[in-house]
Symmetry: C2
Subunit: 168 residues, 2 copies
């Protein structure tokens, strides 16, 4: 389904693009969780997305070129999903949305520590993260010692999980 | 309808809050167009929102305390809708979403010039705009000579409308 284009306003067109309950959540899992196969996106979903909804969202994201799909070189039967330059550039949107959600919605500590790092890191961290995502998803070449924001976010998340375990 | 809270992730909860086609578009019209009455929101809608959808969205935004509603002091039969501190703080989200939309979606020049100003103005302009919105919607006191970002955005929009007329 292409955009309706009811108006040429960027907010309207953005909402026509991913103004639904699941599209950004699926992109979040590909981006921050590096979940690249259908099964991972389905079974590791924190929110318990249903299989038919996931399939429909992925198809729409493909149509809108927010994800791309190819055969997994290591696994001929499996498709691997990747972000595109268009969706990689959603990093600042995720950062601002996460910052707002942390402040105004009943977030859990474990699931919001990555949003906190993204907010506090500001534009410099977003650029480093987008650069890393281009390496992972678009095959862009990076220096061997380039910063891994993904590893930093994951480490912070795991520290929080461990701390939450201790608090129980 | 309250949030389902399928997970405590800020992106998930944000999408549970306004992950639909219309909620942010209605908030946009209240925020940037200062449309405060149901009829204005309905008849001036660029996207031609339907009356029943507008009523349902406003009700949901009220439930989630993203808007408030009171009798219009000048018009006893009419209700006036206002932003809340929670929705005023969406300004940076609108800015980043508008920046992304301008770059990746088929926006029109007239309807994207305000997004451009918001993007280029950065955090200092967002703060000034939120301060102004607190004056308009929450009754906060402001200096008589305080900056009006709303007037700046509106003037830029009208210049573009006029220029578009000349190009025809």
């Amino acid at each position: 389904m292409p955009l309706e284009e009811r108006s040429g306003c960027p907010i309207n067109l953005s909402m026509e693009t991913f103004g639904d309950r699941w599209s950004l959540v699926v992109l979040r899992d590909i981006m921050f969780g590096n979940r690249r196969h259908f099964r991972e996106l389905l079974t590791q979903s924190e929110e318990g997305i249903a299989s038919n909804i996931l399939a429909a969202r992925l198809k729409r994201l493909l149509d809108l070129r927010l994800v791309s799909k190819r055969a997994d070189p290591g696994h001929k039967q499996k498709a691997i999903y990747s972000l595109t330059e268009k969706s990689i550039q959603l990093v600042p949107v995720f950062a601002m949305l996460g910052a707002w959600g942390r402040k105004h919605l009943p977030v859990s500590r474990e699931l919001s520590v990555r949003a906190q790092l993204l907010e506090e890191g500001g534009p410099a961290l977003w650029e480093a993260f987008m650069d890393e995502l281009r390496g992972i998803h678009l095959g862009a070449t990076r220096a061997a010692d380039a910063r891994s924001v993904l590893a930093e976010l994951q480490a912070a998340y795991e520290r929080e999980l461990a701390a939450a375990g201790c608090r129980k």
